[in-house]
Subunit: 768 residues, 2 copies
């Protein structure tokens, strides 16, 4: 059973009524972030129930010692892990001697939590009856500023309803933090200094081993009925925590408010000796601006994001809420301004998966960021991989590859591999293909060749070298084969000739060759620089070509489809529809061997290839493969429904496309996979965006032009999206019977609609 | 490079000269055991160098919490582990204020260590020059009594050579013990009582969780020039250790000797409240018998073992030493008297592998114990599996099997699975076949059907049910296939249609069916009892038969061989001879994916099937398969060379057979696999025995008769062995040109020699 407690609303995520069983799920769903930091929606006041506390700072990770049962040569000794950071949100509340704690209250009424996506803030309100009989109304609002991204602000109000109240309010910062998923119960933080000055508190802490320097800070001010009462706190310091204790008497029906400002300064942005000074300046700036002006700026900043990124859906409020939830969290996670950062699968909402960068970035996220931001954002994501090329070459060397062959890690923070299941780490090598594909995709969409010329070609050469060495020649088949891999469908391990892997391997070599030729012909200086560096000979290139030209692809004449891998047809081909539904999800019910020998597919695998290389195949071919594989697909990866939604739409199966769309867009809101308490599936959210724009909207780039094949699910009245295409913004508004195109830009844009050319003039509306 | 420091000797293992780099290897090689307990050859006196301390009690294990990186459904939460036990051998020696420690001596001369296999004792002697200038001669002798198997004895002598000496001698027992391989640094022992009474010391300790109760004990007596001097010790007790401190002045050239008796009583043999009393009685008995009489009894007990189990080899001292080393350690590990015990791959010589029972027992050890002991020993080993049948059914249920299907664990102490690599635990299911094969083999050799009738049929039915459910029907092949397995060659994982697994699966079903019919026809009461228990219907049996009759076996027409698995021919078929030798052993040089996609075979796989089911195939077929697979075999499993030696001998390739023989027999003595410091390869030692008796001797059982095809390696003058066949003992003495048979028994024995019948009369010699 999926969860179903989130109230449908166009712009907000709303929970009503307090349910302790939903706390951890809501902590994930209501998470807030500003690209530089993020936090789960933990309560400010003490909570004694089940909770997963989490605050995270972008780019601050920890090399945890690997824990595996049985070591294999090539495993990383350490791997980088998303790190739980010191917390600055805490405000303990004591009312007439009793600590406010939602779990131990005599009664909680009118509990409401709202994540306002339009304006970028999180609020809570409730009436609590304490064990001592005191009734209080609590209202809180919290946000992480997009403008001053080192700072967040909290407005926390308490109104005694039935008695005057002696309040003790204790805002604090706490660096006594561990990770839920640490391997060896090691401490991750060294705390070096706790400082208090002018009612500002600072904790300087460094990560062990990685030596990231951080300063966590706070400052508060107290108001009664909206007037600052200049209350002075008593300060308490322990080894890892600073608390300010404010005491005040409040009359019944009066409102006490504490405004708390807090956040982090980090040595990615400041000199490590200047972190406290930077924190002071951030605090001074925030406090003098004040909560309400900061909040106004927040609304404006989010309005700017929405102006470009919003998708509207008419007539289907759950679908509308879903897509905005996805777009909102993507923007909370990554804004694209720093090439050292990337998009973790759980963003700032949890620890699981222990690294920030997966092939998800290249396969799913780049299209979203290309179309909803300036193209420099996608370029930053590509640059990130270029900067890790040396590490990818080292990684391949650990596995016995030579001569500059590069294998990008499955999971990474800093370029090093962060994962150690042999069937994934060593064998899920198709990830290398997605990295090359993203380069192609970026160039196809933006038309910007400079990345390839400056950086990308080296990446492509490293990847091509890997595939050339990884393929082996089968005398039996008189073809090159790729043995022992795990494809995108991780429910198959150590298989031979995974069609997707073989296909993308061949494509990578061909694409590298094409770009070597192009750069030789058009950019002689770059060519010389790169060739001096990579020392690529004509004979090596000829060997690559032999592999690409003679790659083996498993095929079934009987079914007229490419086979996901050698031997796929030996399986008992019982479709998911005929599978005992009590056994689902199979990854929670079956032992691994049973999953592996079953025909069930976790996520698009052969179909992922048809998605990437759509124009290599006819629609008839797509249809045959979709009809063959989708019935065996259990979609137990968050990355699965979006691709299927796009393909179903292309095949005019709008009901199916819509079902997949709902599944991808409300995966976390409705907790389809029973794991939302661990955090959100951030990277698959970009897939949701694709399933509208590429799926229903049918957007592609064809010969440098945008192309659309607009369709609309029967449940919708209309929908609209915008794309930033080569520095012009095209708004697309699709109704039941017509589509409007509107261009913000300064020159005409030639597009294709249902394969027919159409020219859109700047700042005019065209209806088709 | 193999090690080469053990002196060739017919009956002893000898090390000369002290080399700290050899200490851990020698601790393994010189290990002693008596079936009930065992210990690595750690020094009695303190040693500050690298050492791996190990004392083990048969049947005393610990359920350590599993540690894996990435959990999979079906993994055991806990697994039983060979447990390091309290130590009783320690004797600290202080000479004129300086502690004797071989690593810190100024000089060590004439160091000699000897493991006398004929008589079953371990000795050391050396002259040490201490930092303080004192020269002393140390001689020690130690053994674990076969007669009183709870007790061991040490004679430790010190002779000051250049000065009178003030000696402080401190024998102790120590329960402050951990495992080298513990997963979570947990303590495994609860120490309940430390008692000293009449110069006897007792530590009662229980294992946590498993609650095995043990008492470790000691008593010592001091002699000068062989005369008991009645020295009284001072007692020191800590939380987990009892020490007796003896102080005495010794003149230069006088010999001081301490005789120490120690050992364990355990609640497998005594009431748990009577362990101290049992220990007292064992000590009283030993001390009153005295070291020298105990040693005499030890010699006699070993003489009795050798009388039956010895193999002599003339003209090749290294081969002779090798085979005796193997036979000696097998008998130190397991004497077959207790059906609760089994044969750990490392015996009492190390911790690695964490369990006592592997398919090694059925595949390799049973033939040795059948032929060199009474048949009740082999029957005990079969009974052990019968007692674990319910757990094997539970284990299969965890993996989704139903209806009494049994999957025996890969590794176990108590019937529960002890291993958690998915490719082994869930997929190396051929182990089930070896358990059925051992039942067949026992019946074939002994003629005793009672085990099958009383217990074995239930085991066979559980196993047949497993194979029936585990096979799946491939409509593509119109055959039953077995997908996703690991065969005996663990350098392939998750493969389809491993020929060995498919073959033994079919055989298991056929053999179960044959025995169901036989028991129905001949043992009606047993049949009814068993059928009432297992509820086997005719229709289920018919389903089994369909699987067995339609099993798929991968075959290459081109090479005219069965293929080890689907797709084997896609590999780059470069033989081991053409492999870069710096890359060997590949398991220490290559990452796992590279090993998996290579053609290299860890141990006999297809050929293991040809070994088990030799009479299903012609010699020509064997030859073709041997010629195809052996060149790809790296023999990186200790279980590999023996099978190849037997098959090479059968194919008249005596040089190759001899090379394999040396490798199996001196695997640990010469440390072929660079891991002897972790312990010895006990179970493969039974394979060494097979390579002489079945390989060179060509012994088989054909239609209930022993059959021989005697051959002899060119390096040997002659060799002899004895086998206990159906309660008569046949001695076989094979020379360059003739073979002598001599029967100890009371009735004629019909045998076959080179396929010709021969009748041996009791107590007479027949030469062929």
């Amino acid at each position: 059973m999926n969860l179903d407690y989130i109230k449908p609303n166009e712009w907000s995520i709303i929970e009503e009524g307090f349910n302790a069983d939903h706390v951890e799920a809501s902590e994930s769903i209501f998470s807030i972030g500003n690209g530089a930091m993020g936090q789960r929606a933990n309560f400010e006041e003490h909570y004694s129930g089940k909770t997963f506390q989490g605050s995270y700072i972008a780019g601050v990770y920890y090399p945890d010692k690997t824990r595996v049962g049985w070591w294999k040569n090539g495993y990383p000794e350490y791997f980088a892990k998303v790190l739980n950071a010191p917390s600055w949100i805490g405000i303990d509340v004591n009312i007439n001697g009793e600590q406010l704690d939602l779990l131990s209250c005599a009664k909680v009424e009118n509990f409401k939590r709202e994540l306002n996506m339009k304006e970028g803030w999180l609020s809570r309100s409730f009436k609590a009856t304490l064990q001592n009989g005191n009734e209080v109304l609590i209202t809180t609002k919290r946000f992480l500023s997009l403008d001053i991204d080192e700072v967040g602000a909290i407005e926390y109000s308490i109104k005694p309803l039935n008695e005057n109240a002696q309040l003790v309010i204790t805002p604090y910062i706490d660096a006594g933090i561990t990770n839920e998923d640490s391997n060896w119960d090691d401490q991750f933080w060294n705390i070096s200094n706790l400082t208090v000055e002018n009612n500002q508190a600072f904790i300087e802490a460094q990560t062990m081993k990685t030596d990231f320097h951080t300063c966590t800070f706070m400052q508060s001010e107290c108001l009664v009925e909206g007037q600052n009462v200049g209350l002075q706190p008593q300060t308490v310091k322990t080894d890892n925590k600073i608390s300010f204790i404010y005491k005040i008497s409040i009359n019944k029906e009066e409102t006490f408010t504490i405004n708390k400002y807090g956040g982090y300064t980090v040595d990615r942005n400041h000199d490590k000796n200047g972190l406290v000074a930077a924190a002071k300046s951030a605090l001074d700036n925030s406090v003098s601006t004040g909560f309400s002006a900061l909040l106004d700026a927040q609304k404006q900043a989010w309005a700017k994001i929405w102006e470009m990124a919003d998708i509207t859906i008419d007539g289907d409020i759950k679908a509308q809420q879903g897509i905005r939830f996805n777009i909102f969290h993507l923007n909370q996670t990554y804004l694209g301004t720093d090439a050292k950062l990337n998009i973790g699968p759980k963003g700032f909402t949890g620890e699981k998966y222990g690294g920030s960068t997966y092939w998800d970035t290249e396969a799913y996220c780049i299209p979203f960021y290309m179309a909803t931001k300036d193209q420099s954002v996608a370029r930053n994501l590509l640059t990130y991989r270029y900067k890790h090329l040396d590490k990818a070459i080292e990684n391949a060397e650990k596995l016995g590859f030579t001569n500059g062959a590069a294998l990008y890690p499955m999971v990474t923070m800093n370029g090093e591999e962060c994962h150690n299941e042999w069937e994934i780490t060593f064998e899920e090598i198709h990830r290398n293909g997605a990295i090359a594909f993203a380069i192609f995709n970026y160039h196809r969409y933006t038309g910007d060749y400079s990345y390839i010329q400056e950086m990308g070609l080296e990446v492509l050469i490293g990847i091509a070298r890997f595939w050339h060495q990884r393929a082996t020649f089968s005398t039996d088949k008189d073809k090159y084969v790729i043995l022992g891999v795990t494809g995108p469908n991780e429910y198959e391990n150590n298989i031979n000739n995974n069609w997707y892997t073989n296909y993308i391997a061949k494509w990578c070599i061909d694409y590298a060759l094409e770009n070597i030729d192009k750069i030789e012909a058009e950019f002689a200086t770059d060519y010389t620089r790169i060739m001096n560096k990579v020392r690529l000979s004509k004979s090596e290139v000829a060997e690559w070509k032999k592999v690409a030209d003679n790659m083996f692809f498993p095929y079934s004449e009987k079914h007229n489809v490419y086979l996901q891998q050698d031997g796929f047809l030996d399986k008992e081909l019982i479709t998911v529809a005929d599978l005992d539904q009590t056994q689902r999800p199979i990854n929670q019910h079956w032992s691994w061997d049973r999953i592996l020998r079953s025909p069930y597919i976790k996520q698009a695998d052969t179909l992922q290839g048809f998605y990437f290389f759509e124009d290599h195949f006819t629609t008839k071919e797509l249809e045959r493969h979709f009809d063959f594989y989708e019935p065996f697909t259990v979609h137990e990866s968050s990355l699965s429904p979006c691709v299927h939604s796009i393909q179903a739409a292309k095949l005019d199966r709008m009901e199916q496309a819509y079902t997949f769309y709902l599944r991808t867009s409300r995966l976390d809101l409705d907790d389809y996979n029973h794991e939302v308490h661990e955090g959100l599936h951030i990277t698959s959210m970009a897939g949701t965006w694709m399933s509208i724009v590429e799926g229903f909207g049918g957007m592609r780039v064809v010969n440098g032009k945008l192309s659309f094949e607009p369709k609309i699910p029967g449940q919708w009245e209309g929908y609209s999206f915008k794309v930033n295409f080569r520095h012009q913004i095209l708004k697309v508004n699709i109704g039941k019977d017509k589509t409007d195109f509107e261009l913000e830009g300064d020159k005409e844009l030639d597009i294709l609609v249902n394969s027919l050319p159409l020219t859109i003039k700047p700042n005019s509306l065209v209806t088709v």
